[in-house]
Amino acid sequence: AQANAAGLKIAIMPKAVNIGYFTAWNKGAQTACKEIKATCTYLGPTEATGPAQVQFINQVIQKKYDVLVISAADQNAIVPSLNKAKAAGIKIVTSDADVAATAASSRVVSVLPAASARIGTAEVDWIAAATGGKGKIAVLSAAATAANQNAWIAAMGPYLTSKYPNMSWVGGTVDKSTFYGDDDATKSTAQFDAILSQYPDVAGIISPTTVGVLAAAQEKKTKNASVKVTGLGLPSQMAPYIEDGTVEKVGLWNPIDLGYVAVYAGAAAKAGTFTGKVGSSFKAGKKSYSVVAGGIAYLGDPFTFDKSNIATFKAIY
């Protein structure tokens, strides 16, 4: 049965407002809210830091929201506040970015696109396809402290070695081949340049963050560099580069779905129909999601976007 959650107050908190990715994420959340007749408020800081988010979590506690759907800007710093919110009876669902595994008890469930390992290995497959399965590659990540990215990157290392014997990391290991652009266009661009000048023979760059992959694509285009670029990018932002062939393929889950499902999970938890225990499940729209180890519900494998489908997706998110 469709959850009826009329009157439920739900807070939707991105890492930072004013970011296109989270605008899309919020779009899904709002759709779900309409369906279940809850009122959803989109709120959050302008800068993606834990302490800034904490101020808004306090607001959520103070205003006695029923549910908090949050993308964790810092996997540790917000945990104490989440625990307070939990103690105040607020059901918390992390979506898009989770808290540290050691703090999993602070939320009901985490709605994530796909297992970290899947996202990491998929990106390796994409770059391998682009470089023809050989050559040296590097990673252009977000902040050094970005938990999601770190988990994905950790999965890339062993996978590359085992699956693609003709490929290797520019710095020997994945750690030494990872550069941090801090999710900032300027810094990401500078780090892209640094990779190129430090490793002129680099064949491919994976950028598992929308800001980074965009900067990489733009810089590859302006410099007419031969290095292959892939990663996680919003189709609407990446479309020009895919259409003109700068980038063959990027992938991403659907952030709209991510927000959509998270709201359902939160509402179900509040209604008491969903516990968040491993094996339990909840319905979001037509689909049902069940919780796996770590208290996580996955959306499924990431989508990939290339010339064939970019036109469709760029209009959506």
Partner: protein
């Protein structure tokens, strides 16, 4: 005449901020029932804690005609050092001691460069800002430290039993009172003002200006390390990207409190009110669901008002009295004449 001066000096901007704070509290309580609650008060206190701690020495520095842009990076470095030591097996209590030593060292470095090498504090601390932040990443890289001992993080997170006040209040309140007394009721305070008005005249009045300012930077390092401890415990983790942007927030708060960027003038009251006011107004705006963008706009406008209002009042008064040209205030206090 005498009467007029008295009136003028009694309506300084610092008291204006106090009035604004009262106004904010009154309006806040009227527009939202969530504002004037004990739990919200607890949040506000916790929220402004670190900024308050750093704003105290920053007030001394700015009144003395100097500035420190490296405080946020130094805070992060202290926090990272604590995290690093703890992660490498140092008992947490000792890790805190190491953190304080690191904090003192950051202050000593700034103090040395500014006072003994005679470099401009604005330029120097832009440099040390980058340096300290870099060291944070060298220490922790992409591995923030969590799972700190529950006893300690409890102090950072929980309230004092039976109250709505966080434990950090027990640290911050005395610090605020000490700073207030130091600045306005002791020799140290007088020296601070003297150094800011004219470091040359201060020197001639037998004040060891260099050593004094050096000590002031070291004290800033110490206060930063206390703020770092509060920060680390409150967020139950140590991360190299801690306290991003706190330097400008702190300086903005001090200036909004009526402290003159040129040095020599300002009150601790003004700064204390200002830090609380900024916390309170943020809370009110958030509780009535203003976006965080509006918050930035309000901060910027308040800052401009804080300098413009007293100045306009002064200009109006000057127009009535005389017509003597005063030189434009500039970035730094001391003019380098031959």
């Amino acid at each position: 005449m005498n009467f007029l001066t008295r009136i003028r000096s009694s309506i300084g901007w610092d008291k204006g901020v106090g009035a604004l704070l009262v106004l904010t509290i009154v309006i806040g309580s009227l527009v939202t029932p969530d504002f004037a609650t004990t739990s919200n008060l607890g949040f506000v206190v916790q929220d402004i804690g670190e900024i308050m701690i750093i704003a105290l020495p920053m007030t001394f520095l700015i009144i003395a005609g100097e500035i420190d842009l490296s405080v946020a990076s130094a805070l992060s470095l202290v926090s990272s050092s604590i995290g690093y030591s703890f992660a490498h097996g140092v008992p947490f209590g000792w890790a805190l001691v190491i953190g304080i030593l690191v904090g003192l060292a950051t202050g000593a470095l700034n103090g040395f460069l500014v006072n003994y090498l005679g470099l401009q504090s604005l330029a120097v601390t832009i440099g040390t800002m980058g340096l300290f932040r870099g060291l944070c990443f060298v220490l922790l890289g992409s591995n923030p430290v969590n799972q700190l001992p529950d006893f300690w993080t409890g102090l950072g997170i929980n309230n004092i039993p039976g109250t709505f006040l966080p434990w950090s209040f027990l640290l911050i309140a005395p610090l605020v009172i000490i700073a207030l007394i130091l600045l306005h009721f002791t020799r140290i305070g007088r020296w601070t003002f003297a150094a800011g008005i004219s470091s040359e005249a201060a020197n001639f009045a037998g004040i060891p200006v260099k050593r004094f300012k050096f000590f002031m930077y070291v004290a800033t390092g110490f206060m930063v390390s206390l703020a770092a401890i509060v920060y680390t415990l409150r967020f139950a983790s140590a991360s190299p990207d801690s306290a991003m942007g706190y330097e400008l927030t702190t300086i903005a708060a001090v200036l909004f409190g009526g402290v003159s960027i040129a040095g020599g003038f300002g009150t601790m009251w003004g700064v204390i009110f200002s830090v609380i006011e900024l916390g309170a107004i943020r809370s009110v705006l958030q509780l009535v669901n203003f976006s965080s963008n509006a918050l930035q706009i309000v901060s910027g406008s308040l800052l401009l008002f804080s300098v413009a209002v007293p100045k306009v009042a002064e200009m109006l008064k000057a127009r009535r009295e005389t017509r003597v040209k005063t030189p434009t205030p500039s970035l730094t206090s001391s003019r380098s004449v031959e």
